[in-house]
């Protein structure tokens, strides 16, 4: 129960942050990627603001054996930089650039622009399913 409340608090603050920073607006995100037109550097300030508290959090993690409400830290294992990582990230960037939406803002935008957000999310679910059955079944991973 405590874990779920922490999760809800985190998600709500995350969604509020996306709204305050202007990152729910696909046009603004795309204006950051649009270097040949009127470039909008706002996203860089958002990243700087977000990385600061998280860098402190990682510093704290190294000094704690357990999280506040869970038994252990589940941090990603160090894996090599492989073709999957780069290929997947490259693909993601293309989709991100086409509309200016990534998963967080798309889901948060359900409260602002429900129809286009829902279409993006449904397509994203289909994409995740395609990955699940096309890319992971051949390999055991």
């Amino acid at each position: 129960m405590r874990q779920n409340l922490i999760s809800l608090a985190s998600g709500t603050l995350f969604g509020a942050g996306l709204a305050v920073s202007g990152m729910i607006d696909p046009a603004r995100v795309r204006a950051f990627l649009d270097v040949t037109d009127a470039w909008d550097p706002t996203l860089a300030f958002v990243m700087a603001g977000a990385i600061l508290p998280m860098a402190i959090a990682w510093f704290v993690v190294r000094r704690r054996s357990t999280p506040i409400a869970a038994e252990q830290f589940h941090t990603p294992a160090t894996s090599p930089i492989d073709r999957r990582l780069i290929g997947g990230a490259a693909l993601f960037g293309i989709g991100w650039g086409i509309v200016g939406l990534c998963p967080g803002p798309a889901i948060a935008a359900l409260a602002i622009q429900p129809l286009p957000a829902l279409i993006f999310i449904a397509a994203m679910a289909l994409g995740a399913a395609v990955h699940r059955f096309a890319f992971t079944s051949r390999r055991s991973a």
Binding site: L13, F14, G17, V20, L33, T42, P103, F120, A128
Partner: protein, 145 residues
């Protein structure tokens, strides 16, 4: 901001701090990475790893809740492209790409960069680059809506 008439550096930085604190709450509270694409796949049963289902669900449900609260109090602008089929194509590519690349702007961009993870630095540089190339191609070919 001089030279950048549409930029919101102050709001961007404050909103960014909120996002970072939110991710820190998830990490220090539940010991989990606040990666949206992973949480989303987890909810749908399309991810083998990741957090418990309820944690993913509560976090994800919070996103529109938080955005809705801000929208109701100060208003939020969101200009989507008019082509719904273009939105669907983009969503599909994002869905495949984030799963294949194990993360998106939250997991790799916020949580990974702040940890100086070489994988996340490589992933973020890659999706930033292909994002810029995509928008540039769309602008130069007149597709940009």
């Amino acid at each position: 901001m001089p030279g950048f008439p549409h930029a919101m550096p102050f709001e961007g930085f404050i909103g960014g701090l909120m996002i970072g604190v939110a991710a820190a709450i998830m990490l220090l509270g539940n010991g989990r990475i606040a990666g949206v694409s992973g949480m989303f796949a987890r909810i749908l049963g399309l991810s083998t790893g990741g957090p418990p289902w309820a944690i993913a669900l509560f976090f994800t449900a919070g996103l529109p809740l938080g955005a809705g609260i801000v929208a109701a109090s100060v208003g939020v602008k969101a200009s989507f492209p008019t082509s719904l089929s273009l939105i669907a194509v983009a969503g599909l590519i994002v869905g495949i790409g984030t799963r294949l690349g194990s993360g998106c702007t939250s997991g790799h961009g916020v949580c990974g960069l702040s940890r100086l993870s070489p994988r996340s630095i490589a992933a973020t540089a890659t999706f930033m680059a292909t994002g810029v190339v995509t928008v540039t191609i769309m602008r130069l070919s007149g597709v940009l809506l």
